[in-house]
């Protein structure tokens, strides 16, 4: 199976990465850009259920206090 996990900052939590990217784009002359936010994607391959991936997010990939995550089955989800 192949799962896609996407981890992003919760609303209100500072996304310095997005902010510095915005600054960089302005400096490069991309004046039209108004905002940038970022997220991290993990593609997880293996023999695991959606429940496992939930658990993986909670235990390692995301902190529910400051981050949101979404899980998407890409291949072979059998639920």
């Amino acid at each position: 199976m192949l799962w896609e996990v996407r981890v992003s900052y919760k609303r209100g939590v500072q996304d310095s990465e997005g902010e510095s990217t915005l600054k960089g784009l302005k400096a490069l002359g991309f004046g039209g850009v108004e905002g940038v936010s970022t997220a991290k994607v993990y593609l997880i391959k293996g023999n695991c259920s959606r429940g496992d991936v939930e658990e993986i997010c909670r235990r390692l990939l995301a902190n529910p206090v400051s981050q949101d995550y979404t899980i998407r089955g890409i291949e072979g989800e059998d639920e």
Partner: protein, 259 residues
């Protein structure tokens, strides 16, 4: 002789780098990137350019990406001229990343508009501070000439793994552009072995020069190996005098004197 030590938000090795150059008898002026960009300062007013270590703009996108791309976007032409005139450019750690992103290194056909190499996340995937052995002398770079066969300096970075396009390594080697390689204590190349090669760089590359030899980018920090007393084992091996970083920086200064 007056060096421009370029800094951007997040640069943090400018103080000790400037200090080392001053001890070698040159002027070293720390200049904020924005002063170059808004034209208050002209890069062509300096005898050399040093881009020191740090985390410019937080290094979020890729280390050195913002400064590198902004430099090439806004000052590309002046920088090319600076390099073509043979003036020395040294990028240390974050500075190396900047030079790579700016297209100044490897500079196969002169300065390129887009990067021709990458300094990617360490194979270990984390930041690492450790002393390494280096082998110099294969390249045309005058800054690494006449050095002892094995040098010691510290690296401290999270993204220092040299990634080259297909054929890139061969091309670098053929051009004599590999200035420094990670080595074993004996001077043999590290052969990709960790931790001697601390980041998994292709060809154990720690430093690259341009074909002309006047631009050098390296991940290790010569300013942190400037004095023997900064070595991690000086209490065993002696803390008097200058270290290998001094030799490299002195070579660069002498190169300028000869220009």
């Amino acid at each position: 002789m007056n060096f421009c030590i370029l800094r951007a938000p997040g640069t943090n090795c400018d103080g000790e780098t400037a200090r080392a150059l001053e001890e070698l008898g040159c002027g070293a002026e720390v200049v904020h990137l924005k002063r170059l960009l808004d034209g208050r300062v002209d890069i062509l007013g300096y005898s050399g350019l040093v881009i020191p270590g740090g985390f410019s703009y937080g290094d979020h996108i890729r280390s050195g990406a913002i400064v590198g791309r902004v430099l090439s976007h806004a000052l590309g032409e002046r920088l090319s001229r600076f390099v073509d005139e043979g003036r020395p450019v040294l990028g240390i750690c974050n500075g190396f990343q900047v030079l790579a992103e700016a297209g100044l290194l490897p500079g196969f056909e002169g300065t390129s508009r887009f990067p021709e190499m990458a300094l990617s996340k360490n194979a270990s995937s984390h930041f690492e501070d450790r002393w390494v052995h280096l082998r110099a002398g294969e390249s045309s770079c005058p800054f690494t000439k006449g050095m002892p066969p094995v040098l010691r300096m510290p690296v401290a970075h999270g993204e220092g793994r040299v990634v080259l396009p297909p054929g890139g390594l061969e091309r670098l080697e053929a051009n004599g552009q590999v200035a420094l390689r990670y080595a074993l204590g004996s001077g043999e190349p590290a052969g990709g072995r960790y931790p001697e090669n601390p980041n998994g760089s292709a060809g154990d590359i720690a430093g690259i020069t341009n074909p002309q030899g006047n631009v050098l980018g390296l991940m290790p920090h010569p300013e942190r190996a400037f004095l023997r007393i900064l070595y991690p084992d000086w209490t065993r091996t002696g803390g008097e005098g200058y270290g290998d970083g001094y030799l490299l920086l002195r070579n660069m200064v002498e190169y300028v004197r000869r220009l």
